[in-house]
């Protein structure tokens, strides 16, 4: 679909109970989204350390998205609330550092929302692709 | 399906924003339509015939002037299909053609009675002519 050849690199952290299952459901229903999205499974969205996100951007990721259970539905009762608060802080700090807010996102996707997962990924990839490459935090020593 | 008119179909779908494939053929639109008996083709047939591309038949039918735009079919449709918008799009496709106005300014004086509100005339001109 993309006119230019530029393919963004997207890292998606998905919680095991809702969003990873939602991604599986998108697969079961054969709902397409770009292959630029690479999923890392974590037990809960609150397992995602800000360091992981910084590392991803240093290593040349163009966008990072966190997916967790809907508020109130966390398998661990309250993990996604921590995520929401932590990421609000982190994302505004990243924005200050020049990583645009559009490159980072937290989205709630339940195990039943395969369609939402695919739609979210399509939208996120499109948004990040429109911004172009992330160079701001990229660690040049990591570059091949 | 000899009377397929794909060009008009595409135009009508675009103009109305309606997706006739959402229709599950329950017939609630035609069950609710207050103008049903005046129409040759009924709301559910508009949906079906637009989908199959039989637009020409619809364009030639007086049914397109019978819709009251009361939107009962739109609100009561369980699938959000909005048949009234299809009727409107077919009618506009007709009256936007040259010389196809269903009502002209000349015919208005005959309509006037003392109480008829302007609103009716303005609306009619908008619905029946370009």
């Amino acid at each position: 679909m993309q006119v230019n050849e530029y393919k963004p690199l997207i890292v998606a952290f998905c919680c095991n109970w809702c969003s990873y299952a939602g991604a599986d459901l998108a697969g079961n229903n054969r709902l397409n989204y770009p292959a630029d999205v690479k999923i890392i499974r974590v037990p809960c969205s609150c397992r995602v350390n800000p360091m992981f996100i910084l590392r991803a951007f240093q290593r040349g990721a163009d966008g990072v998205i966190l997916c967790g259970c809907h508020p109130g539905d966390c398998h661990y009762t309250s993990g996604n609330y921590y995520t929401r608060r932590r990421m609000a802080l982190l994302f505004s700090m990243l924005d200050y550092l020049g990583i645009e807010k559009e490159r980072t996102r937290v989205e709630w996707v339940s195990a039943a929302e395969g369609a939402k997962f695919a739609a979210t990924m399509n939208d996120f990839v499109e948004t990040v692709a429109a911004l172009g490459e992330n160079k701001r935090l990229e660690d040049l020593r990591c570059k091949k | 399906m000899s009377q397929k008119n794909d060009r008009a179909k595409e135009q009508i779908l675009k103009m109305s924003g309606v997706n006739p494939l959402k229709c599950m053929r329950c017939g609630k639109c035609s069950g609710t339509c207050p103008s049903y008996d005046e129409m040759e083709y009924h709301p559910h047939q508009f949906v079906y015939m637009v989908e199959t591309g039989e637009i020409d038949k619809l364009m030639q039918s007086p049914s397109i002037y019978k819709c009251l735009s009361c939107f009962a079919c739109v609100d009561r449709c369980p699938r959000g299909v909005e048949p009234a918008k299809l009727v409107e799009a077919v009618r506009l496709t007709v009256i936007r053609q040259k010389g196809m106005n269903h009502m002209t300014a000349d015919s208005i004086p005959a309509l006037l009675d003392d109480d008829l509100p302007q609103q009716a005339i303005v609306s009619a001109m908008r619905k029946y002519s370009k």
Binding site: - | L68, D75, E88, L116, Q119, R126
Partner: protein, 269 residues
């Protein structure tokens, strides 16, 4: 409270009493109606086609002027309300449409700011319910319409499409009934109150609208109504022509209950 007040053409001609009593009552309720400068006819009916732009510009201009004045836009006539509210919805939700409209409007000259559906559109009844409060309406009543059995006729324009109008429950609305109760009369609930009177089709096929209007009034009378109340000049026309019930505007009833009717009369020109 000040509101931007869109009367519409019919209220300037055939439906003067709808407008006249509306203003009288607003005065009593401490609401100041301010007419937008140079408003134009809303077009009478909303054309749902997405590519119909020019005919909706007059509505957008009224909306934009209300936005600039920082006031909600209040309409009295059901038809104006439907057209303006639907147009505003398109401005909010159809980016392509809004863009095209703004391009047109930019050619109006002067300093241009785009409009994207920011204005709140209120029907007069919504103004009474949500901003003034029916309690206050009730308190202003000096001659309660006790004993009157009034059938509210909603028609289509105020209620549908519900997704856009969000006026009341489209199948079991209560706003007019609550209004009638506030005036001291007894509301008559009947099933046909949200069915179409035949509308503008009267110009093309009077028989069709006669049939529909007759069914409405018959249902209201059978339910025990002595009066039918409406907000729309065209509904009033159709229903009065085709049924035995007296049809009055809601503003007229309100003026009556407020004790404003005897003192003031619409001057016929």
């Amino acid at each position: 409270m000040k509101v931007s007040y869109f009367p519409g053409c019919t209220l300037r001609t055939k439906a003067k009493e709808l407008d006249f009593y509306a203003r009288k009552c607003l005065e009593k309720l401490d609401v100041e109606p301010i007419e937008p400068d140079n408003w134009q006819c809303c077009g009478g009916v909303f054309v749902s086609a997405k590519d119909e732009i020019a005919s909706k510009l007059s509505s957008v201009r009224a909306l934009k002027s209300a936005k600039e004045a920082g006031m909600p836009l209040v309409t009295v006539c059901s038809a104006c309300h439907n057209v303006i509210k639907q147009t505003n919805y398109c401005m909010q939700n159809d980016a392509d449409f809004a863009n095209k409209v703004n391009l047109y409007m930019a050619q109006d000259g002067g300093e241009f700011t785009p409009y994207n559906g920011e204005t709140e559109v209120l029907h007069f009844l919504e103004l009474l319910r949500d901003k003034v409060g029916f309690d206050k309406v009730k308190a202003a009543v000096v001659k309660p319409l006790t004993g009157r059995k009034i059938a509210a006729y909603y028609g289509c324009l105020l209620l549908r499409p519900n997704k856009v109008m969000a006026f009341d429950n489209p199948e079991n609305p209560t706003i007019m009934e609550d209004f009638i109760r506030a005036l001291g009369a007894e509301p008559v609930v009947y099933a046909m109150r949200n069915e179409c009177c035949g509308g503008y089709v009267v110009t093309d096929d009077p028989e069709s609208s006669a049939k529909k209007s007759a069914a409405v009034t018959e249902n209201a009378m059978n339910a025990g109504a002595d009066t039918v109340m409406t907000a729309c000049p065209l509904c009033k026309y159709n229903l009065s022509k085709n049924g035995g019930a007296p049809v009055v505007y809601f503003t007229e009833l309100m003026a009556e209950a407020f004790g404003l009717k005897e003192e003031q009369h619409v001057t016929e020109e």
